[in-house]
């Protein structure tokens, strides 16, 4: 390659790999928040309280329709304005967690909706309790429908972690920025960052596809969905 310096590459690689660990932690933590808050958002929209449903629905719409990078700035800078000082990590996790919670709440919702109405009716006809209905009938059938969504957003949150660099979280991309600022070399750090992302996200995507097939097979649902 044109001006590619291998010794420089080897020199910066450990630093980038260290930062990759931070990126993975950020993605994992953010995803965990998103999974929990997303479930709360989804269930809140199924309560009989119309006002709660409405407010959560609008909140989810709002978060989904506005840029994550702006939300990160908002959370980070508005905190001090009202007297709460958040570290970059805390602010970043809140912003990215909430952002993806709004996506995941839609996945939860779609999963529950994907189970045919007849299944609910059959449960009522068999006099199953609500708990049993969810645990034994509805959720097992909803799982295959949600895995692709959960998987895509897991990779999505991973690829959005570079946005945390805007408030100074020292993840992979920020590490590359620092190297660039110190050495005035951009080719190697930014290319390596791209490659590291690729090396992690491609196998993960493949794994999620396999996992989805496996779950369908394990639940004996292969035929049921094969035509989609």
């Amino acid at each position: 390659m044109f001006d590619w310096k291998w010794d420089f590459t080897i020199e910066i690689l450990p630093r980038l790999l260290d930062a990759t660990v931070n990126t993975l932690i950020a993605a994992g933590l953010g995803y965990l928040i998103a999974l929990i808050v997303g479930l709360i958002f989804a269930l809140a929209q199924r309560t009989p309280l119309r006002s709660v449903t409405f407010i959560v629905r609008e909140l989810v719409e709002f978060v989904r329709s506005t840029p994550l990078v702006l939300q990160i700035f908002f959370v980070f800078y508005v905190g001090p304005q009202i007297g709460i000082r958040l570290s970059p990590w805390t602010a970043g996790m809140i912003a990215i967690g909430l952002h993806y919670a709004s996506y995941l709440s839609e996945v939860y919702r779609a999963g529950l909706d994907s189970v045919p109405k007849g299944q609910w009716e059959a449960c009522s006809a068999l006099n199953l309790s609500v708990r049993r209905t969810y645990a034994k009938i509805i959720i097992p059938q909803a799982i295959p429908a949600v895995i692709p969504g959960f998987g895509n957003y897991l990779i999505g949150i991973f690829k959005d972690t570079p946005l945390l660099s805007v408030i100074g979280v020292m993840e992979l991309f920020q590490a590359a920025n620092s190297i660039g600022a110190e050495t005035y070399r951009f080719l190697e750090p930014y290319t390596l960052v791209g490659l590291i992302f690729l090396v992690i996200s491609l196998p993960t995507a493949m794994f999620i596809r396999r996992f989805e097939d496996w779950v369908r097979g394990a639940l004996g649902m292969k035929k049921l969905y094969a035509k989609d």
Partner: protein
């Protein structure tokens, strides 16, 4: 301290200017994304291995890495190869190239969702592959893929906020600048969030729905 009303009076022109740039970036980004999506989907479905391989590689690389990384690469690394782009161009180009990779999968999905019988009827009537695609398959696929494209365009609008990080003076950039001069963070970023929301819900979504209805009427299906 300014009241919110005074804040808006003072900084409305700057935010408006940024909004215009955001809309320009979005429009140009859509243009690039649509071109890329159709090209790459066609390549991925091509009968020749090398072409198909290129399509797959493009889609996987652009979907497998971060837009921000791609944008920095285009803006900071491409000049080392003798390709220097202005920040404005680098911005919408990166956004379009990235979202186009996602769009390519939507195009492919839409085409594959057209029932097989439609291909067979077109084959039986002797259409050439190109005419078959242009007259029979694509119009039907287009209608099927418009709803997911509506979501993708919202993603694209949001993605343009990243161009601020290479100093394109869009809405995001302006709100950041106002924040750093006034320290009125809630007002500066909050107003920008609301403007993005309005663009998404009052321009992009209804626009796509209108397009869908018009196309459905024109094709008289759905």
């Amino acid at each position: 301290m300014l009241t919110y009303f005074e804040f808006i009076q003072e900084y409305f022109p700057a935010l408006l200017k940024g909004t215009v740039v955001t809309l320009e970036q979005t429009a140009l980004g859509i243009l690039v994304a649509v071109l890329v999506a159709v090209t790459m989907a066609s390549m991925k479905m091509a009968p020749f291995f090398a072409i198909r391989w290129f399509g797959i590689a493009y889609i996987e690389v652009f979907r497998g890495t971060s837009l921000l990384v791609q944008m920095y690469w285009i803006f900071f690394v491409l000049p080392l190869f003798g390709i220097t782009l202005e920040k404005f161009t680098a911005g919408f180009l990166a956004v379009g190239l990235n979202l186009g990779a996602y769009g390519a999968e939507l195009v492919r999905g839409g085409i594959q969702a057209v029932p097989r019988g439609q291909y067979e009827a077109a084959v039986a009537l002797g259409f050439s592959p190109f005419t078959r695609m242009r007259r029979i398959i694509f119009p039907q696929a287009l209608l099927k893929m418009l709803p997911p494209w509506g979501n993708l365009l919202i993603e694209l609008l949001k993605a343009t906020a990243l161009v601020a990080l290479i100093s394109v003076t869009d809405l995001m950039f302006m709100s950041k600048q106002i924040n750093s001069t006034t320290f009125m963070s809630a007002q500066a970023f909050g107003t920008a969030l609301i403007i993005y929301y309005i663009i998404a819900r009052l321009i992009v979504t209804p626009g796509m729905r209108g397009l869908e209805n018009r196309l459905a009427r024109k094709l008289s299906i759905g």
